[in-house]
Amino acid sequence: MSREEIRALVLTQLGRIAPEADLAALPDSALLREELELDSMDFLHFATALHDALGVDIPESDYEHIASLRGCVDYLSARKAR
């Protein structure tokens, strides 16, 4: 799976959780929880959705790596490449 495909998939999942957000304008480096006003339940749903879509189980200790869009794509690309 390419980085672009992973990025599109991450944005799709974020769009389900924060449907009102203008994701096209989401900076790659912005912190998702702050930028999209996600609470801990939203973030858990996000991690669960990524797991369901990609088969990657993200341990809690790795949540810091998926805090931004760029971090999320980097992390998932690396995990998928393993």
Binding site: T12, G15, R16, A18, P19, E20, L23, E37, D39, S40, M41, L44, H45, A47, T48, H51, D52, D57, I58, P59, E60, S61
Partner: protein
């Protein structure tokens, strides 16, 4: 034979508008099945039926606004003979808004969604009323709400599969068929937001006017609880993990067993203790406003059950598809604003309840441990309670019990 009635979907609900029927006469319904969609002004609620049987007649028409307790449909139990066709009991007209508060709706509001019909008719006869109009060839069978939603979203009804009675397209089908990232919870219509704001305003103004609040605040060292939770979550897949709020809710619910004066309702000048501990959890909606789905018998749920119910109800609340079981009357409310960085919450009791518990964020703080200074994760917990029903001593004991339970997470 039983009448299916307009349920009370919240203590402040006086009437509801039927948006959709999800069943038709002749349909078998199972306990817990969603049979209708009702607009309460605050939200659209999927109404579940709490009795199995066969739908004999639909009394209410889509679009009708009816008071809580008004008969909506008639059910007969499996094996029971159909009833003679009768004229549907004319639902009482809805009084205008300014008069409705004085109308004697209280007794009806407390009635369960399904109450037994007064007396079965003797002569069995078939021919139940038909609520669905015959569909002319070429015309798509869809509820008015589904048509409106499809129009708003630019969706072609012909491209959607219907799951309603007789294959009719209902709102849920349109929502499912909406393209990804379609505006869902965010598109809370303006009048709905206003209705919700009005309801919150009325409840909170009444609370501040009538309820003599007392407030207690304390903080709990969460080190042991969080370490236990972290270790537990490490061995589980992401969907099975619990959040710290689940621990706080479990401790609150179990502590309430020892504080019955905090769980119930103040009605008609007196306190009525709740049967069971039903915890309403405040969920903020992305379009603005609040919902408070209810964890029924929360003290009897395992941590996994509680977390699952919380996750599902939060999602349903945010997607605007709460069910009647989610919004049945709570005996106490819990609000947590920790995710927004708030340290201490000073909550307002939701009448007719008599207490509310607030949690702030869990944050590292300096605490004295065995005479030494240590840094520990600490959460601020507040209790606002009704002084007509309980005193500070009782509230203090309750908070102490919450703290004791958080120190023994394996018991939660």
């Amino acid at each position: 034979m039983a009448d299916f009635r307009m349920p009370s979907l919240g203590a402040d609900m006086e009437r509801g508008t039927l948006l959709e029927w999800r069943v038709a006469p002749g349909d078998r319904v199972a306990r817990g099945q969603i049979v209708a969609l009702v607009d309460t002004e605050k939200a659209e609620i999927e109404v579940e039926c709490w009795q199995s049987g066969v739908v004999e007649a639909l009394y209410a028409e889509v679009g009708q606004t009816l008071p809580v307790g008004a008969p909506l449909a008639r059910l007969r139990e499996e094996g029971e003979a159909p009833r003679a066709p009768t004229v549907a009991p004319a639902p009482p007209p809805v009084p205008p808004r300014e008069r409705i508060a004085a109308a004697p709706l209280r007794a009806a509001a407390a009635a369960p969604a399904l109450a037994p019909a007064p007396a079965p008719a003797p002569a069995p006869a078939p021919a139940p009323a038909t609520a669905l109009e015959p569909v002319p060839a070429g015309r798509i069978h869809a509820s008015p709400l589904a048509r409106r939603l499809a129009r708003e979203r630019g969706l072609d009804l012909a491209a959607l599969a219907g799951s309603g009675p007789g294959g009719a397209i209902v709102a849920e089908d349109v929502r499912r068929g909406a393209p990804v990232a379609a505006v869902e919870a965010a598109s809370v219509p303006r009048d709905r937001r206003e209705g919700m704001r009005r309801a919150i305003a009325a409840a909170m103004a009444r609370s501040k006017r009538e309820i003599p609040h007392y407030y207690l605040a304390t903080s709990f060292d969460c080190a042991r609880a969080l370490a236990w939770l972290r270790e537990r979550n490490q061995t589980r897949s992401v969907a099975e993990r619990a959040l710290p709020i689940a621990l706080l809710l479990a401790a609150t619910a179990k502590a309430l067993r020892k504080a019955p004066e905090l769980s119930g309702a103040y009605v008609d000048g007196g306190f009525r203790a709740a049967q069971g501990i039903h915890v309403g959890v405040v969920v903020s909606l992305r379009g603005g406003g609040l919902a408070a789905p209810v964890l029924r018998d929360a003290d009897r749920l395992s941590l996994d059950e509680l977390m699952r119910a919380l996750a599902e109800q939060t999602q349903r609340a945010r997607e605007g598809r709460l069910r009647s079981g989610d919004v049945s009357e709570a005996s106490i409310t819990v609000t947590s604003l920790g995710d927004l960085g708030v340290e201490t919450v000073f909550p307002v009791i939701h009448p007719p309840q008599v207490a509310i518990v607030g949690f702030g964020r869990i944050a590292d703080a300096p605490v004295a441990v065995d005479g030494m200074l240590a840094v520990r994760p600490v959460v601020h917990c507040t209790l606002a309670a009704d002084h007509r029903v309980s005193d500070g001593m009782r509230g203090a004991r309750f908070l102490a019990e919450v703290g004791r339970l958080l120190g023994r997470p394996e018991e939660l």
